[in-house]
Amino acid sequence: MKALGARSAFYVGFVVGTCTLYVLLRQVGFTRDLGSRESEAHEKSLLEMVKEENKNWKKERLALFNLNHPHHTGEDGTLADTLYKHVRILCWVMTGPNNLEKKARHVKATWSRHCNIVVFISSVDDPDFPTVGLNTKEGRDQLYWKTIRAFHYVMDKYGDEADWFLKADDDTYVIVDNLRWILASHSPEDPVYFGRRFKPYAKQGYMSGGAGYVLSKEALRRFVEGFRTKVCTHTSSVEDLALGQCMEKVGVVAGDSRDTLQRETFHPFEPESHLTGTFSKTFWYWNYCYYPIVQGPQCCSDLAVSFHYVNPSLMYLLEYYTYHLRAFGYKYRYQPSEPNVIQDFNAPAPGKVEIGDIEEKLGVEEQEGEKKSPRT
């Protein structure tokens, strides 16, 4: 009797011991793995982000100087590199303190990496991001003040280090390589600016703010000079129209940014709307576009420059479509012409681009182009 009791006690004890230790091991192993894995992953991604950024940018004077013009494995980027060297673009992005993590961060991680210099314009200085604050508040009514001060700021601090000055919003996606293709055929000493041309309220039209617009160095000089001489003032808070009216006053030409098939390159909406949407006939857009609107696939150039109302995930999607995803061996239907100045850019020393000649030629072309444009 006693022996039997002892034996069964032994067996019960064995089972209890096994189960207890099993549970204990599971608990310890499980929580230890999970805990360390999670915090490890988080730390790793933060560290990676900082490392990536330090490789790509030099932070100086609250601006980002591009150190690492992105290249893709297996690609031949010599033409893009040539343009990068000779068509220097400073991109300034309109943002605010509340949008740094939500929006501006993704601009920094994607398209702005193709600009020569990037400045994030906010209402406060932030040396880490970095952003520049120019004594303005936040809000729609501050947009033109921010714009005026931003252009003055970049002229003052970086005027000699860039040829063209682009303004974009933190929900604009820009394909800077395609912008260089357009600008390469023009001189930065020409008083001209490009964007998505709208027609109302200004004789030569003005450029849509959301779709982004780019000023030549001469255009920027005249803009700043205009404010000094009070020819231009803060007329309204409608930033794009007010700027367009100032441009007209100081003799800066509203350029035609369409490609050689007359397809638009700057877009005020996201790709889906332009490619598939049918805008209602009463939508303001119909009355605003300077050039005839095309809906469907021919709305947009293959060498599109910008899209607007782009949220962060769409930014990464567009980055994937533009710079990564491709069809092997596919011969594109649209074969764009190489800008004439490429030979001059590649010419051996003293292969200086004869600015005078080109300016003259382009100046004439610009005027001719203007006359040909349909005016309603």
Partner: protein, 317 residues
Amino acid sequence: MMYEGSSFMKGMILGGIFCLVVSFFETFNSGTHSEGHEHLHHHLKPVSKDELEKLSESQMSDWTLQVRVYCLIMVTPKLLVHWATANDTWSKHCDKSVFYTSESSKVLEAVDLQEQDEWARLRKAIRHAYENAGDLRWFFVARPTTFAIIENLKYLVLDKDPSQPFYIGHTEKSGELDYVEYDSGIVLSYETMRRLIEIFKDVDRCPERGNALWKTPEETQLATCLKYSGVFAENGEDAQGKGLFNKKSVSSLISDSMGQNPADVVEACCSDMAITFGGMSQSQIQVLMYGVYRLRPYGHDFHDSLTFLPPKDSDND
């Protein structure tokens, strides 16, 4: 009482030690086991750029001819919108694309198989495609909810001999059986098609009507029949090991990557040479067409060794 107590304690201690020993043994064993498991998984990658550059012009033109694709798109009237989208977009890039339907539609053209059972329909379509292949040697089977970049499919099979049995896509496991997921597209070589036609005759191993009570998905039925023909599933991936066949949409994959790899969203997400995506709306597909076949940054060239021309009478690519 004490006698029992001490026995109990002894039992407990022994039980604990037993458990420890078993769990250590298990982790050691499962570690090596999972490695062995990996090797059984077949991986198929495209030819390297270096090898392509070594080829002569005549070999290049041979391969361009050999790599032409016959697309079998399995539709039903219920999927009319997806059917129309596939018809208007990616199917134009196949050398021959045939829509196989369960019942005819007045709106769109297709081979009417008059068959409601999906597996039976797939078998009929395969038979029809094999008989009408002409000199095409590669076959791509997909539902219209899938979007395919046929040029990248050609790139994957470029240096593979279609008179060898190939069965490629995104591989999954059903028990011990490796099969290619239907939703991300199935690639079959001519030899595989030939063996399928043969094994279809075997009523025991490859029945046309499955068990009425237990409906097995067509993708596993196909894998089973192929297994009996000595053909095994291979996972299509790029040089970096990224999967080329996806059943998720591009935006879904990007979202996932934003959560998992915020420092490098696009690099970590999807392959440059991706072949398929799934679950995308009509509008999203038009944007994808623009993104793949038109939108690009000026000044970046790839100098691919082969050239594929755009399809005639099309304006969205």
